[in-house]
C-alpha cells in the first residue's frame, strides 16, 4: 500500500469514490466540475504554487495493483476565503444564592474561532481495506507531510468528524436545530457546503447563542459525538493527541478534534534518517515512512528498524518508496 499526492489523473476514480462515500464526506463532492477545480488546486498546492489561504492537499491510497482505494486531505488554512463556522460549546450558569439555585446550561455559540487552522478532511477508505495498517497509514500520512513542510501549515490542526445520523441520513442535531432555519433536509445542506457554498450558513443560521436545553434529547446527545462509521477514524487521530475541545459541527453536532501541530505525536516524534536496505528483523516495528518529497511524495507503512541514524527496511519497501539506500527519509512508529 502506498500514499501519494492526488492529481487530475485520479479524476474518474475519485468521482466513483465520492459517489460511494455518500453524505458525510462533504469535502469530496460528487460533481465532476467541482472535483476538477479542486484537483487543479491540489496540484498547485503540492507544487508549492498556491497561497496558503487556498492550499488544499489530497492524498490517495493505492493498493499493490495501483488501484486507488482511499483518500485523505487537508486544507492548509481553513476559512481564509469564506468564513468557517463552528459551534463552541460554552456554559451559562444561572445561580442565586438567595434562592439556593445553581444550574448549568450548556450553550452553543456560533463562532469562526477555527479560522486559519489546518483542517484535515476528505478521509475515506474503501470498506474492504479498513483493516491492518491502512487506516493509520492513510490518516497519519498527512502529519508526515506537515512535519516535512511546517511553514505551509497552521500551528493548530483540526478535524471535523462526521456527526451522528441514522441509516436514512437523518441527523438528530440537524432536525432539532438547523432544519428550523434552513427548511431543507440535512443531505441537501450538507451537499451545498460540499460544493463550496458556505455563505448561506451565515445568512440562515441563528446569530445568537443557543441554549442546549432547547434541543431535543437526541440532538443534545449527539453533541461532540461522531458517526459510528467514524469512530475508528477518531481513535486513530486521538492516538496522535488530537482531542475534542468543545467545538462541534454546525450541521450535525459532530466533534471537532484539535491539537497543536507541534504536539501531534507523528510530527513531534518523527525523525530524519537515512534509508538502509536490509532485513528489518524480528524486532522491527511498523513505521510510517515518508520520502520527504513534496509533489512526488510517497508514504508507506512498513516494518523497519532504526540503527545508527539509518532506517533499515526491506528491499520491497524501498522499491515502494522508489528510493535507493542512503536517501534521507522521515520516519516514525505507526503507533505510539
Amino acid at each position: 500500500m502506498l500514499v501519494r499526492a492526488a492529481g487530475l489523473q485520479d479524476l474518474d476514480t475519485l468521482l466513483a469514490l465520492a459517489v460511494s462515500a455518500g453524505a458525510g464526506l462533504t469535502t469530496l463532492p460528487a460533481s465532476e466540475e467541482r472535483l476538477v477545480e479542486r484537483l487543479k488546486r491540489i496540484e498547485q498546492s503540492f507544487a508549492g504554487e498556491a497561497p496558503q489561504a487556498d492550499a488544499d492537499y489530497l492524498f490517495v491510497l493505492e493498493d499493490g495493483q495501483g488501484r486507488v482505494v482511499g483518500t485523505s486531505g487537508m486544507l492548509a488554512a481553513a476559512g481564509m476565503r469564506e468564513p468557517w463556522y463552528s459551534y463552541r460549546m460554552g456554559l451559562t450558569v444561572a445561580a442565586s444564592r438567595e434562592l439556593d439555585v445553581y444550574r448549568q446550561q450548556p450553550t452553543l455559540f456560533l463562532v469562526n474561532d477555527l479560522t486559519g487552522a489546518t483542517a484535515l478532511c476528505s478521509y475515506f477508505l474503501d470498506p474492504e481495506y479498513r483493516s491492518g495498517d491502512n487506516p493509520r497509514l492513510l490518516s497519519k500520512a498527512r502529519f508526515m507531510f506537515m512535519a516535512e513542510c511546517p511553514l505551509d501549515f497552521s500551528s493548530r490542526v483540526i478535524v471535523e468528524m462526521r456527526g451522528r445520523s441514522d441509516t436514512a441520513g437523518r441527523s438528530p442535531f440537524w432536525d432539532s436545530l438547523g432544519q428550523h432555519f434552513f427548511r431543507m433536509d440535512f443531505a441537501r445542506a450538507d451537499y451545498l457546503t460540499g460544493i463550496g457554498n458556505k455563505a448561506f450558513i451565515a445568512e440562515m443560521m441563528p446569530k445568537f447563542p443557543l441554549y442546549a436545553c432547547f434541543l431535543s434529547d437526541a440532538a443534545r446527545d449527539a453533541i461532540g459525538q461522531v458517526h459510528p462509521d467514524s469512530e475508528a477514524g477518531r481513535l486513530v487521530l486521538e492516538e496522535e493527541g488530537m482531542c475534542y475541545q468543545g467545538y462541534v459541527d454546525i450541521f450535525d453536532g459532530g466533534a471537532t478534534l484539535e491539537a497543536q501541530r507541534s504536539q501531534v505525536r507523528a510530527i513531534r516524534d518523527s525523525r530524519n534518517l537515512l534509508l538502509a536496505i536490509g532485513t528489518p528483523g524480528d524486532e522491527a516495528v511498523t513505521h510510517l515512512i515518508h520520502n520527504r518529497l513534496r509533489d512526488n511524495c510517497r508514504m508507506i507503512a512498513a516494518p523497519a528498524r532504526v540503527a545508527a541514524g539509518t532506517l533499515v527496511v526491506s528491499a520491497a519497501s524501498a522499491e515502494r518508496l522508489k528510493l535507493r539506500a542512503g536517501t534521507p527519509v522521515r520516519a516514525v512508529a505507526l503507533q505510539g
Partner: protein, 339 residues
C-alpha cells in the same frame, strides 16, 4: 351597592381571602398576609403623598358591597414598573434570515428578554369573587381604577401595561414554563409563581436566558400558548382589549401570557371620560350604564349605575348616593360609559 375604594389596613383579613382564591398566575396578589399588609401600607402611603413624578407608589383598590360590608373584588395599579427591581418581559420579535443566492427566505419568531416596559404604570392584582357574575362589577373593578388614573395623571406614567395570566392547568403546570423557565430554575410553575409573588419576580428573571429564544425550537405545547390568555381571565382581558391595549409585542416570561400595553391617555376610559358637576336631587329613572368616580385621592370612590345622563349636563344624584361617593353638591364626578 358595589363601591370601589382604596384598601385600608383593616381590609386585610378579607383581602387575604380574595388573594387565596385568585389564580396562581396573579403574582401581584400574593396569598401571604405579610406581603399583602406591605402592599396595603404602600398603597396608603402613596395616597398620602403629593406625587409630582412617578416612583414606587402603588394603589390597591377594593370592591365593597356597601350593604354587607363584604369585599368582593380588588384591583391595583403600580405607578411605575421596575422601579425597585427590574421589570422583565419577553419581546416578540421576528428575525428574517434570507439567502439571495439560494432563494431562501425564512422568518424566525424569537423571544428576547427585555426591560422595554420599565417605567410603565402597571395594572395588577385584579380579582373578583366568583359570586360576582354581574358584568358591571367586573367593569367597575377593572375600569374604575382607570378613572382614578384619568383624574390624577401626574401620579402615573405615560404608558400603561398589564401582565395577563397565561395558560396553566389546574395542577399548576404551565407548558411555557416547562419549556423555558424550568430549564433555568428547576421548580414547577406554581412554585416559581409562589417565589415570584413573595420575593419579587426579578429574582427569578435574573436566572432566565439572556439570549433570545428561537421559538421554533420550543415544544409545540409551549409554542401554542405564547400570547394566549388563561380562560379564567378571558372576561377581564376582553375589557382590556376594549380599552385599546396592544397585545402582540410582549409576553410574560413565566407563563407566556400576553403583556399588553398602551398610552395611558389613549385608554378608552381615560380618553372618553368626562367631568360633570354634581347636583343633589332626584335623578330620572332609566338610561344607560355609567361608571363614575369622584376626583379625590384618599377618599376615592367609584361605582356603576344606570343613569339618564348626557355629557354636558349636571349630574343629578340622590343625597344618599352622593354621600356614598363622598361628593357634595357642586363637586365634580368623572364619568365614562359602561359597556
Amino acid at each position: 351597592m358595589l363601591m370601589l375604594r382604596l384598601g385600608k389596613r383593616s381590609d386585610l383579613p378579607q383581602i387575604e381571602l380574595l388573594a387565596a382564591a385568585s389564580p396562581v398566575g396573579v403574582t401581584s396578589l400574593p396569598a401571604n398576609r405579610e406581603r399583602l399588609a406591605d402592599i396595603l401600607a404602600a398603597s396608603q402611603a402613596s395616597m398620602a403623598e403629593e406625587v409630582t413624578l412617578t416612583g414606587e407608589e402603588r394603589y390597591f383598590f377594593v370592591l365593597e358591597d356597601t350593604a354587607s360590608g363584604d369585599l368582593v373584588g380588588c384591583s391595583g395599579i403600580i405607578a411605575a414598573s421596575g422601579f425597585r427591581s427590574p421589570f422583565y418581559t419577553f419581546r416578540n420579535e421576528m428575525f428574517v434570515h434570507a439567502s439571495r443566492e439560494l432563494g431562501l427566505h425564512n422568518r424566525i419568531h424569537v423571544l428576547s428578554l427585555c426591560h422595554d416596559l420599565t417605567g410603565h404604570s402597571l395594572l395588577a392584582g385584579f380579582h373578583l369573587a366568583d359570586s360576582q357574575s354581574d358584568p358591571a362589577a367586573m367593569q367597575l373593578t377593572a375600569r374604575g381604577r382607570l378613572l382614578f388614573m384619568a383624574s390624577h395623571p401626574q401620579r402615573f406614567a405615560e404608558s400603561t401595561s398589564v401582565e395577563v395570566v397565561g395558560v396553566s392547568d389546574t395542577e399548576g403546570n404551565a407548558p411555557f414554563w416547562d419549556a423555558v423557565g424550568r430549564h433555568f430554575f428547576a421548580v414547577s410553575y406554581a412554585e416559581a409563581e409562589r417565589i415570584g409573588s413573595e420575593r419579587g419576580r426579578s429574582f427569578l428573571a435574573e436566572l432566565m436566558p439572556g439570549y433570545p429564544i428561537y421559538v421554533p425550537m420550543l415544544s409545540d405545547e409551549a409554542q401554542e400558548v405564547i400570547g394566549q390568555v388563561n380562560p379564567s381571565v378571558q372576561n377581564v382581558f376582553d375589557i382590556l382589549m376594549e380599552e385599546g391595549f396592544e397585545t402582540d409585542n410582549y409576553v410574560d416570561i413565566f407563563d407566556g401570557g400576553p403583556v399588553v400595553h398602551a398610552k395611558t391617555a389613549l385608554l378608552n376610559t381615560v380618553r372618553n371620560s368626562t367631568l360633570a358637576q354634581v347636583q343633589i336631587g332626584t335623578p330620572q329613572a332609566g338610561g344607560g350604564l355609567w361608571l363614575m368616580a369622584n376626583t379625590h385621592v384618599c377618599d376615592f370612590r367609584a361605582c356603576a349605575l344606570q343613569l339618564a345622563w348626557e355629557p354636558g349636563q349636571p349630574l343629578v344624584l340622590e343625597q344618599r348616593l352622593a354621600d356614598q361617593l363622598c361628593v357634595a353638591d357642586g363637586d365634580h364626578v368623572r364619568l365614562v360609559r359602561g359597556n
